[in-house]
């Protein structure tokens, strides 16, 4: 049988799915054990007990100086920034993206501008944001928005343009005005794509968040990682990275479930 026609059964699929994760953990454990055997105080690849200690200290014991449970307070601080940034981007993208997709005049006005702005490297703007908006929350949220919104706007505008012309004409023959067509025909068909768009932008959004927190902050997951870097605290950095990944994966999964639950037809269309 040709390779392209062989398919794994359910059990094999599960095993294959888990394999890379298991391999990664095993490789780490082997490396860590080898280094610890040579030097019991090695800090680069701490053993699993080291992680357990660090996680216990950060998540379940109050910090000696502030009395906060650091993992949770960091998570809260980061998530607020992340979702504020993503929320602002989503609303902006929806409004401007739809306008560009539907109205030829606004398309002529805004499409080239947005295309140009989306090419500006957001991290290069970070110093400007810090200077103009200060070192507080506003500049971090602004960085995420600037980094994520232009791409989302372009994606949604494309999606709105992709709607078959026939549908728009049909809506016109049903007596729809521009506003009504936007509300009842274009918007509902764009929303599932918007959810997917947010999912795809989760990665970049986290990138900009960590970058902003690394440079200036007093809390947050990115702040913590860059703080303990000075003490070579790999036992803290690794769990934090895993935690961030887990949060991103979970958000991604939940958003997709929400899309399927709220827009059941968008799943039917795929088949």
């Amino acid at each position: 049988m040709r390779w392209i026609n062989t398919r794994p059964n359910r059990g094999a699929q599960l095993a294959l799915m888990l394999l890379p994760f298991v391999l990664l953990v095993a490789a780490y454990a082997a490396g860590s054990a080898a280094r610890l055997a040579e030097n019991a105080n090695d800090k680069l690849l701490p053993g699993l007990t080291g992680f357990a200690d660090a996680v216990n200290r950060l998540a379940f014991l109050p910090d000696a100086r502030t009395g906060d449970y650091l993992l949770w307070s960091d998570t809260a601080a980061s998530l607020i920034r992340l979702f504020a940034g993503l929320g602002i981007s989503t609303v902006t993208a929806l409004l401007i993206g739809m306008a560009i997709g539907m109205l030829p005049y606004l398309r002529a006005l805004l499409a080239p501008f947005v295309a140009a702005v989306s090419m500006v490297p957001p991290l290069a703007l970070l110093p400007i944001l810090f200077i103009v908006m200060g070192l507080g929350e506003a500049s971090k949220i602004a960085l995420i928005t600037i980094g994520v919104a232009p791409t989302m706007i372009r994606d949604l505008a494309l999606k709105a343009l992709e709607l078959p012309r026939e549908q728009i004409v049909k809506a016109e023959t049903l007596g729809g005005s521009s506003w009504q067509i936007a509300l009842r025909v274009v918007l509902p068909q764009i929303l599932p794509r918007l959810v997917t768009c947010v999912r795809l932008q989760l990665g970049p959004a986290w990138l900009f968040l960590i970058a902003a927190e690394a440079i200036s902050s007093d809390s947050g997951l990115g702040y913590r990682i860059f703080l303990v870097r000075r003490y070579l605290s790999m036992d803290v950095i690794f769990p934090y990275v895993v935690w961030i990944t887990l949060l991103a994966v979970l958000t991604n999964f939940v958003l997709d479930r929400i899309r399927i639950a709220v827009f059941p037809w968008s799943e039917l269309e795929k088949q």
Binding site: E166, V169, L174, G175, P264, L268, E269
Partner: protein
């Protein structure tokens, strides 16, 4: 009344002449089939009647009034594809026209108004043989059912003119025959003029009261750009068909038709349940 008068209409795209000097008067409640080879401008002509495109020269009058420059509720349309909205259920699709007409800002109906609109929509859904499928999404319907849905959706507006752009071209023959019966019945019962573009001669002669052929009189490669297509044949069906009247000659062929029972294109009515 819904009489269409097309007076010496030309359509050019830049240097290319697509249609030249097309004149046609379509009587009220007629059923005109436009036939002709691919690329001869039938669909362009239909889009001009729809208001999606404007003639380069010439005028189109509907009931003596010049046609508005954009599509509107007086002219319904069914395309070969993409005629229904994938995000609305069958009921939602039929209801949409009512909602857009009645509610200017929210484009939704509530309470009593919604209930009476739903009643009207359900009646039309039954009429096209889709009752029982009200809560389904178009992706769950077969191609034939989608086209019948598109018809119901257009008909709830009670348009003066119904424009059909190869609406049944993608359906297989058995289903096409059924939908022809439905189409004939709808045309007999509603007060509208129908203009249909089709590739299928049989379809044209089965349904129409008049078959109009578009052709390029000069079709040599070096002439193609500068000479457009025009009307070369205009055939009235004999014995004549008239909307809502029983034909004396062959009532089963030309008269109003009665149709009952499940349709062949309904996946849930086939014995295996799958298509």
């Amino acid at each position: 009344m819904s009489e269409l008068i097309i007076d010496s209409v030309w359509k050019e795209y830049g240097d290319q002449i697509v249609l030249e000097n097309v004149s046609l008067t379509v009587a009220s409640r007629a059923f005109v089939a436009l036939v002709g080879p691919s690329g001869c401008g039938k669909s362009t002509f239909l889009r001009m009647l729809l208001g999606q495109e404007r003639p380069t020269r010439g005028t189109i009058l509907l009931d003596g009034e010049p046609l508005p420059a954009e599509p509107g509720p007086d002219r319904g349309v069914v395309f070969q594809r993409y005629s229904v909205f994938p995000h609305l259920t069958v009921l939602g699709n039929v209801l949409l026209g009512k909602e857009l007409m009645a509610s200017k800002f929210k484009a939704r109906l509530f309470g009593q108004a919604r209930r009476s609109a739903i009643d009207e929509a359900r009646q039309l859904i039954t009429e096209v043989g889709l009752s029982g499928a009200e809560t389904k999404y178009p992706a769950q319907l077969s191609g034939g059912m989608q086209q019948r849905l598109a018809l119901a959706q257009a008909l709830i507006m009670k348009p003066k003119v119904l424009l059909l752009d190869e609406p049944f071209g993608a359906l297989d023959p058995g289903i096409r025959a059924e939908i022809h019966t439905l189409m004939k019945r709808l045309w007999n019962e509603t007060r509208m003029t129908v203009v249909m573009v089709t590739h299928d001669m049989r379809e044209a002669f089965t349904l129409a009261t008049r078959v109009v052929a578009f052709e390029r009189p000069r079709d040599r490669p070096e002439e193609k750009e500068r000479y457009g297509a025009t009307i070369t044949r205009d055939i009235s069906i004999w014995p004549p068909r008239r909307a809502g009247e029983l034909s004396h000659f062959s009532p089963d062929r030309d008269g109003p038709v009665v149709l009952q029972g499940p349709r062949r294109d309904d996946p849930s009515s086939s014995p295996s349940g799958v298509r």
